[in-house]
Symmetry: C2
Subunit: 109 residues, 2 copies
DNA sequence: ATCATAAAATATATTTTGTTTACAAAAGTA
DNA sequence: TACTTTTGTAAACAAAATATATTTTATGAT
């Protein structure tokens, strides 16, 4: 494929990383998505999306220090890149424009 | 397993069907998406998305009468169903909520 | 009536994205 | 050391997206 398109789940993950600001790592992203959507997210599914997002340049990551309350592996934190933000905005604007053209649909509440 | 999740391209197609109102068929949908997005849509890709959308209950279809200017096969027109509209709204609202939580992002123009 | 051509849908194969399942690593506790 | 908790990794498979090629159907011209 010539230039990489953001998939549906990838976009949701990317939005969530942005929303979580500096606390976006595997488990927090998983929990946030589950809370907001009622859909269950497996940690494996999430990490494969994260890997793809990083490979495409939509996010950066770094491992944090060893600071967990009760042990555990170090977290890998994700942050959204500029092109990640741009991709989100572009999708958002396109969908907003289109949805407004649909008659008898109530986008405000 | 029951798959009712809308894919990224499927959602774009569904939005476009809604926006085109009573003129949504293969070629018009393809052209509309290409105009709005600069991305190239193959007619085969589009029809496979349409088939999935119909199987999932997000759209209905019917073939039109023979009315083309210069021959050609009859068009199959698509209309969005109620659950199609509901799915679009749900996605729209979720993304709107999330994008507003991202700092330093300008969603208004 | 047959032929050429246009318009649209269908078929098939491949790649990319999404999901599940199982497992491994790192760190604290006892 | 062994145990438990937290998090990440890997591999296999299913579904969605894409590209390319083909077929069906309709009309107008000859």
């Amino acid at each position: 494929m010539k230039f990489t398109q953001l998939g549906e789940f990838e976009e949701l993950v990317l939005l969530t990383i942005g929303a979580l600001q500096d606390n976006a790592y595997g488990v927090s992203i998983k929990n946030e998505i589950q809370d907001k959507t009622e859909r269950k997210v497996s940690i494996g599914a999430l990490h494969s999306a994260l890997n793809r997002l990083e490979k495409k340049g939509f996010v950066n990551s770094h491992v944090g220090g060893a600071k967990a309350e009760r042990g555990g592996r170090r977290k890998r934190f994700y942050t959204i890149t500029l092109i990640g933000q741009q991709a989100l905005l572009k999708n958002y604007q396109l969908r907003t424009d289109l949805i407004k053209l649909i008659p008898n649909i109530s986008i405000d509440r």
